[in-house]
């Protein structure tokens, strides 16, 4: 089964099996993964589900939308080239694993 792997700032890894279409944010919240705050509940209004996507996973994901791009500019932990909002990235069809790194702070 496909999975999303979350890597905490201290290096701890946890992989959660998901169905295609599951978002990085909702999967984290439903499985008590710490560090994904999701204050606005997935409306791309708060930028507190910010993640850094692992290099190998980046190309598997659809591109950043204009709204996501603008919200990421102000992410609390600083934007990098692999920054995404967890609420805006869903597990694509046919992908076995995506790996995301959780930043040290969301607010």
């Amino acid at each position: 089964m496909p999975q999303i792997t979350y890597v905490q700032p201290d290096g701890e890894r946890r992989s959660i099996p998901v169905a295609p279409g599951a978002t990085v944010m909702l999967t984290a919240v439903a499985n008590n993964v710490p560090g994904i705050v999701a204050e606005c509940g997935g409306a791309a209004m708060c930028a507190t589900c910010h993640v850094y996507v692992d290099e190998q996973s980046q190309a598997l994901l659809p591109p950043v939308s204009e709204v996501e791009n603008e919200m990421l500019e102000s992410a609390a932990s600083g934007r990098r080239e692999n920054s995404r909002l967890g609420c805006q990235i869903a597990m694509p069809d046919g992908v076995e694993e995506i790996v995301v790194h959780i930043p040290s702070t969301q607010n």
Binding site: L26, C40, G41, A44, V67, E73, S74
Partner: protein, 412 residues
């Protein structure tokens, strides 16, 4: 204090956040979260947006899964109403007679919809929107409704109108004031959103009060206005604002004033009791009088402030001073607001309103008070920073789209 722990009354966004933050902050004592509604604490914003439209499944409303609460050693008591606070013995009494001792009590009792006090308001298919159950009832009725009348052109009213129209209903919005969102945004932004909905076929009547509702076989059939109009309706959604739930506090002799009165540390007139979120009236440096704000941000940030104090993570005299921000989703338009403006603050438009992507910067004298952004998330996020740090922005800078607002902020 650790022995009796923290009891939180109200399991909405604020109450949930106090409980979660206490554990994040290392608080070791008992944490009890008491809520009147059944089930898990959930998010309210989608109730008038994606959930009402049937796009968000009910499971996704929950703030956290059931396993979260025992996992963090949080006792969640749902479907339980707190009837009484005994401040002398530091206990709260539940409706069933059970008593809970507290070392510190947090009131996060929220608000309830203001009632429409007109003849016919008790008819079937006349409904408020506050709870998940309300939203489910409205969604079910929208499947068959043909003529929907929304009373009140505030955030709830406009969001419901968008959803109802998209589901194919005829929608008529009636507002007592002379324009939409009068308490919340400039006339430019309010007018823009109304125009966008009018183009999709929503009808608006401003400066119009509701005189009565007419029924047919116990169900609402029409709305009669002060101005003598009869508007057919088979579903009426009431969105005329909310009232804070202050009765418990007042019954305990705490200071109340359209909200539970708290000081800059969010403590009530009893230092063993805090109040947060929609129900709390607190001093804010951007307002000459204490304010009460209804928003997710306010509930969450006030919860964090109280948690940090109770867990000993912040100094006991730490003031609550977070910048307020708000959002609304209306069809293809995202409204984001940073800061709090007064109705007569000036408005400077930044960007091209006709392109549906712009911000309105509000000024009181030369001081920036708030920024209202339509489909301009970058402006909004920059505005949060500018307002929080108190950086001055001139009116000419406000209107100059050749320079990003973020460039005016202090380097971080």
């Amino acid at each position: 204090m650790n022995q009796a722990g923290v009891v939180i009354v109200g399991s909405g966004q604020g109450g949930y956040q106090v409980a979660a933050s206490l554990r994040d902050d290392g608080y070791q004592g008992p944490v009890v979260l008491v809520g009147e509604e059944p089930g898990l604490p959930y998010q309210r914003p989608p109730l008038s947006k994606g959930f009402l439209a049937g796009k968000t499944p009910v499971e996704e409303l929950a703030l956290r899964p059931e396993s979260f609460y025992p996992g963090r050693d949080i006792a969640l008591l749902s479907s339980q109403r707190v009837m009484h606070i005994d401040r002398a013995t530091r206990r709260v009494a539940l409706a069933g007679g059970r008593e809970l001792p507290y070392g510190h009590l947090v009131l996060a009792t929220g608000t309830r919809p203001r009632l429409l006090l007109v003849p016919g308001a008790e008819l079937d298919n006349v409904v408020p929107l506050r709870s998940c159950a309300d939203a489910q009832a409205i969604h079910a009725r929208l499947q068959t409704a043909r003529h929907v009348v929304v009373i009140g052109a505030g955030f709830i009213g406009l969001e419901v109108a968008v959803v109802a129209r998209a589901m194919g209903c005829e929608v008529h919005v009636i507002e007592f004031a002379d324009r939409a969102l009068k308490r919340a945004v400039s006339k430019e932004v309010g007018g823009f959103l109304v125009e966008a909905q009018a183009q999709r076929g929503v009808v608006f009547s401003f400066s119009t009060g509701v005189a009565s509702l007419a029924g047919d076989g116990g169900k609402v059939a029409a709305v009669l206005t002060y101005t003598g109009r009869t508007i057919p309706a088979d579903l009426v959604v009431i969105g005329v604002g909310v009232e804070p739930n202050i009765e418990l506090a007042r019954g305990a002799g705490l200071a109340v004033d359209d909200g539970i009165v708290v000081n800059a540390q969010l403590l009530t007139s009893d230092p063993a009791i805090s109040a947060i979120g929609d129900c709390a009236r607190f001093p804010a440096d951007y307002s000459p009088v204490p304010v009460r704000l209804e928003s997710v941000q306010n509930a969450v940030d006030q919860a964090r402030c109280v948690s940090a104090r109770l867990a000993g993570k912040s100094a006991p005299d730490t003031r609550y001073d977070k910048l307020p921000w708000f959002w609304s989703d209306q069809g293809e338009y995202r409204l984001q607001i940073a800061g709090v403006s007064a109705a007569d603050d000036d408005a400077v438009v930044r960007g091209d309103m006709s392109q549906g992507k712009f911000s309105v910067l509000r000024f009181r004298g030369e001081r920036l008070t708030a920024v209202e952004s339509i489909n301009s998330a970058a402006d909004h996020m920059a505005a949060r920073k500018l307002l929080a740090e108190g950086t001055s922005v001139s009116r000419s800078q406000a209107a100059d789209v050749s320079q990003k607002l973020a460039a005016l902020a202090r380097p971080s």
